[in-house]
């Protein structure tokens, strides 16, 4: 029995399936993280700048954007995935597989990324921003030359956390037709009751999280000039 399972796991067919799943998972999470940052970074900055203690307070913009972000943050990911299927079909032409999953992953994670960015940016010392204002910096200059560079270590660290969260989402997406290691875990482990394969996929996912986190911490530290 055990022999057969081991044989199945290490069969050429299975190995290529896992390899395929691994690539798909990395592809989905990295592309989604990148696109989520393209949207989330400016939105997060907008939230910080328009905050009541921000450089350009604007309660109307801040409340509106904040509410939209909160709305998407509060919809459970599985429900969001199903709900955005029509949109996926419109953008990438399909509702299943890795490409379709990226659409819903971006929609689910961009608001999360926006909040991560906001929290990192708020760590920048208010005094430094005040000093920059006293030197005649414009709002755009403060965002680009003060907040982003000063918050860089924290932003990198936040990106590591975001990418691992998105990795977790890709696994969930497996349940509703997404690809990757999550789909393998569900198809083989859950539906065919091959628990060993399910745990193997979980183990690989844990490894990827560790690697993402390590790279993030390393880069954050390397880029931080506050450490003597």
């Amino acid at each position: 029995m055990l022999n057969e399972i081991i044989k199945e796991i290490f069969s050429a067919q299975m190995l290529s399936l896992v390899w395929q799943g691994l690539l798909e998972t990395l592809y989905m999470s990295l592309i989604s993280t990148a696109v989520a940052y393209v949207i989330g970074l400016p939105v997060g900055m907008l939230l910080v700048v328009t905050d009541k203690d921000g450089v350009k307070p604007n309660p109307a913009v801040n409340t509106t954007v904040g509410s939209i972000v909160n709305f998407f943050r509060s919809v459970p990911f599985l429900i969001l995935m199903v709900a955005v299927m029509p949109l996926s079909r419109l953008i990438v032409g399909t509702t299943i597989g890795a490409k379709a999953t990226i659409v819903s992953l971006v929609i689910a994670s961009a608001p999360y990324v926006a909040r991560m960015v906001e929290s990192s940016a708020k760590e920048v010392d208010r005094g430094v921003i005040e000093a920059s204002l006293s030197m005649g910096a414009s709002t755009m200059q403060i965002v680009r030359k003060v907040i982003l560079p000063e918050a860089k270590p924290s932003l990198i660290y936040g990106a590591a956390i975001s990418s691992t969260t998105i990795l977790g989402y890709t696994a969930m997406a497996g349940a509703v037709g997404g690809g990757g290691l999550g789909a393998i875990a569900i198809n083989y482990g859950y539906h065919r009751k091959e628990t060993v394969i399910m745990w193997l996929m979980v183990f690989i996912l844990v490894l990827i999280v560790q690697v993402f986190q390590m790279i993030g911490s390393f880069l954050a530290k390397k880029n931080d000039k506050r450490i003597r």
């Binding site: 010392d125 005094g127 430094v128 005040e130 000093a131 920059s132 204002l133 006293s134 030197m135 005649g136 910096a137 414009s138 200059q141 030359k145 003060v146 560079p149 000063e150 860089k152 270590p153 880029n223 931080d224 000039k225 506050r226 450490i227 003597r228």
Partner: protein, 338 residues
């Protein structure tokens, strides 16, 4: 250069919040600061002095009143015009506020970068400034690698990068130890003399004002209580608020019981260790009795208060006062009827 004030503040008030919760931080402030002077603003914490200095470059918008910088009312300017004016008003802070992810050289380059100065030119100017403030060898150091005094020197170099006409100092030495405070104050004085930059200093420390300021304004209860040359204001404070600050009543809360005219002397460490009272008695030929004294010597300098019972005849009193004036000792006459 004309004799017009470099900064003129007219009828300035600042209120935070509104309705019943409104707090008045500044109330009808009028102030003229002349080009080239070192002007001090002193007050206890919460007096409104930090708000006042922030109104000078509009980091804080006054509720009413105007701020006239070099002939222009800056409260009427557009954002873009205001940013341009701010390049002519440098500012340094208690917490230094350096960019932590930039080294000393790039911190000094920062305001030049904002002003659109080409990188090479900015670097050259920043190097000059760093050597002016005595940090030529630390240009590659990050703020985290610098001491408090060094950080403030970088901040001063940065504030002067765009050749401002005015340098605002908001409690710039309050986070520094006495020796470092000395060196920063001498640097400010040197810069004032060398490049003629007008300096406005906000502090709660009398010593800072005494050491480098030409004129001082005492601020308390959101208003300017007294304004004038430092010697005059500190030796003979007229208002209650000024007296409270200079004679620091909270230092001697003990109830004094007595009757008659007394002279309270204040030793703030600026006197030497000469036997002041003994000399006074010999020189003036009048005998006084010390009815209360609380003084201590720190590094050979005297700090504290002393209460002398004054002689009956006015002539002796005048002699004593003349002597104290010549010795630069602050005093106040008090009457007790207990």
């Amino acid at each position: 250069m004309s004799n017009n004030p470099i900064i003129k503040i007219e009828g300035l008030s600042k209120t935070f919040g509104n309705g019943t919760g409104a707090i008045t931080a500044l109330d009808n402030i009028n102030l003229s600061i002349e080009p080239g002077e070192i002007f001090g603003i002193i007050g206890l914490s919460g007096a409104g002095k930090s708000t006042l200095v922030r109104c000078m470059n509009l980091l804080e918008r006054p509720t009413t009143g105007s701020v006239i910088f070099d002939g222009t009312d800056i409260t009427a300017l557009s954002d873009r015009e205001l940013r341009k004016v701010r390049q002519s008003i440098g500012m340094i802070f208690q917490g230094f506020n350096l960019l932590m992810q930039r080294n000393a050289l790039d911190n000094v380059c920062f305001p030049l970068e904002l002003a659109g100065v080409p990188r090479n030119e900015a670097k050259k100017r920043a190097k000059e400034l760093l050597s002016t403030v005595g940090l030529a060898d630390r240009e590659k150091s990050y703020p985290a690698q610098l001491s408090g005094g060094e950080k403030q020197r970088v901040a001063i170099a940065r504030a002067l990068a765009t050749n401002p006409k005015v340098l605002l100092c908001d409690e710039a030495t309050s986070a520094l130890d006495p020796t470092t405070t000395q060196s920063i104050l001498s640097l400010l004085k040197e810069l004032n003399q060398k490049i003629g930059v007008t300096i406005i200093i906000i502090t709660h420390e009398m010593k800072v004002i005494e050491q480098i300021c030409n004129r001082v304004a005492i601020i308390a209860n959101s208003q300017i209580q007294e304004i004038g040359p430092v010697q005059e204001v500190f030796r003979h404070p007229k208002t209650q608020a000024a007296k409270k600050l200079i004679f620091a009543k909270e230092d001697y809360t003990e109830e004094f019981v007595g009757k008659g005219r007394y002279l309270r002397l204040v030793f703030d460490g600026s006197q030497t260790d000469r036997p002041v009272i003994a000399n006074m008695v010999i020189k003036c030929g009048t005998v006084v009795s010390i009815v209360y004294a609380r003084t201590k010597m720190i590094n050979g300098k005297m700090y504290g208060h002393m209460l002398l019972e004054l002689p009956e005849e006015q002539e002796g009193v005048n002699k004593i006062k003349a002597y104290l004036d010549s010795e630069n000792i602050t005093y106040e006459e008090e009457e007790y009827n207990a």
